[in-house]
Symmetry: C2
Subunit: 294 residues, 2 copies
Amino acid sequence: MELKRHIPDLELRAWPDGVGDPKDIEFTLVWNVQPGMYKRFHNLKGILSFGAGVDHILRDPDLPKNIPISRGVSSGMVENMNQYVVHWVLHVHRNFHYYGELQRRSEWKFRRNPHAALRRVGVLGTGILGAAAAEMLTRLGFPVMGWSRTPKSIPGVTSYSGAAGLDDMLSKSDIVVCLLPLTAETTGILNAKTLAELPEGAYVINPGRGAHIIDADMLAALNSGRLGGAVLDTFMQEPLPSTDPYWKHPKVIVTPHCASWNIVSIAAAHQAENIKRVMRGETPRQLVDRTHGY
Amino acid sequence: MELKRHIPDLELRAWPDGVGDPKDIEFTLVWNVQPGMYKRFHNLKGILSFGAGVDHILRDPDLPKNIPISRGVSSGMVENMNQYVVHWVLHVHRNFHYYGELQRRSEWKFRRNPHAALRRVGVLGTGILGAAAAEMLTRLGFPVMGWSRTPKSIPGVTSYSGAAGLDDMLSKSDIVVCLLPLTAETTGILNAKTLAELPEGAYVINPGRGAHIIDADMLAALNSGRLGGAVLDTFMQEPLPSTDPYWKHPKVIVTPHCASWNIVSIAAAHQAENIKRVMRGETPRQLVDRTHGY
């Protein structure tokens, strides 16, 4: 395994069959934690998340209180997410979904879009992933805004924060990209009230978490014509059940939670560095603040 | 018209009905020239192309010999082309065409793509449009190569030139983007021989000109499985006839020559500057070299 290239004397045990005596386990490298798992590990020194989100870890009621939890955003994950966001922003901006329909009818017709300078993009969440995507979008000509809990400074990106900032930014966002962590505060953040604040015909792109969206409200906003469309990568239930109305909705693009992932060789260096830091008594990189939930 | 904001005393006459006495005409601002048009203008000082290509102008046998012809690539056109190229490179790279098919079947399934560092992009033509697109692609993580008649220096982009350079670059291009001018040398440049040089499963993206491709060879390469797919924006005949096999080909994405266009307010400044330069006896920007055909 790639981790051993960085820490040769590391002993790796695979969950669940290879764990052996749970008392031996010092670190868990996890994704999609099953609640109750942490009851059995009494000598943990650290919890490393494979992914960007830690909502799946923090909801375990048996989570040990005093050990560091770190997030797993490596440069490969940033690159993949950048590609996803840039692609789908350009896709809706340039009406490529419409041109796809025309091709199915062998029909040659223009639908000119506004100049990128007139298409405002609002990025919800300006952490590592959101900040990188926001900056890349400015390079493609879009005016970009970013919203986060606390104000941020990203070159070329207008910063909004707090509840008033959210309403303000949404009212100007022709395209909204959700890259928030899933916390108590952000659950259901895209709901009837906030979707109604968007400009007529706005698009929502959600590679965040399914629970950021109140699905009934999203479907209502799509069906009423308020929203131009939505690109959804994450859902309340995954895999998305084959009977879910999103699949066949003409204004919805569904992707199977494929927006971003870590590239193993790059991610291993990040995780190994965090193991070393904790073993030396230092704070790991991308330490989770349990109060804020990310 | 926007031009008059830059040159207030300019007199504009619209082709064909508003031309009046052809002897009065000093400049023509043109797109898709009808052969024979230039026979009637005897006092021309300059020809300004609306678009990036001038192949439509140069094929007029009556074209006056000694007046400057300038191309119409403004920053708005560069931005639009960048968006087109970045979108479709990401689209094929990330298998989004495949995910679209899965959605039509309500099917949740991954098809992981290689890391961008392993997907080599070759850009044919590194003029204003090609150089800008090549540089943007490097920012998204792709190794990018550029081919042109003469060697070019573009930050982060490996330069190839000449006939041997073409074969060399194509043999390493997992995705080829054609942004060449259409000249005697580049007509049919993507043919049975050159398509066979591409790696197995390569993709071709052509926002250049339809005549860059030998269509029968392209269809053969798609049908044999050699090519992964093609994204075509330009065609030998436009609009593409509804009976053309490209429309229904499962590996072809057709867009209706919508890759790029000028944004009027930005383009007007470029054209006005060239009129002023010629009136002052100077060389216009983006002067066409008639020997090389662009």
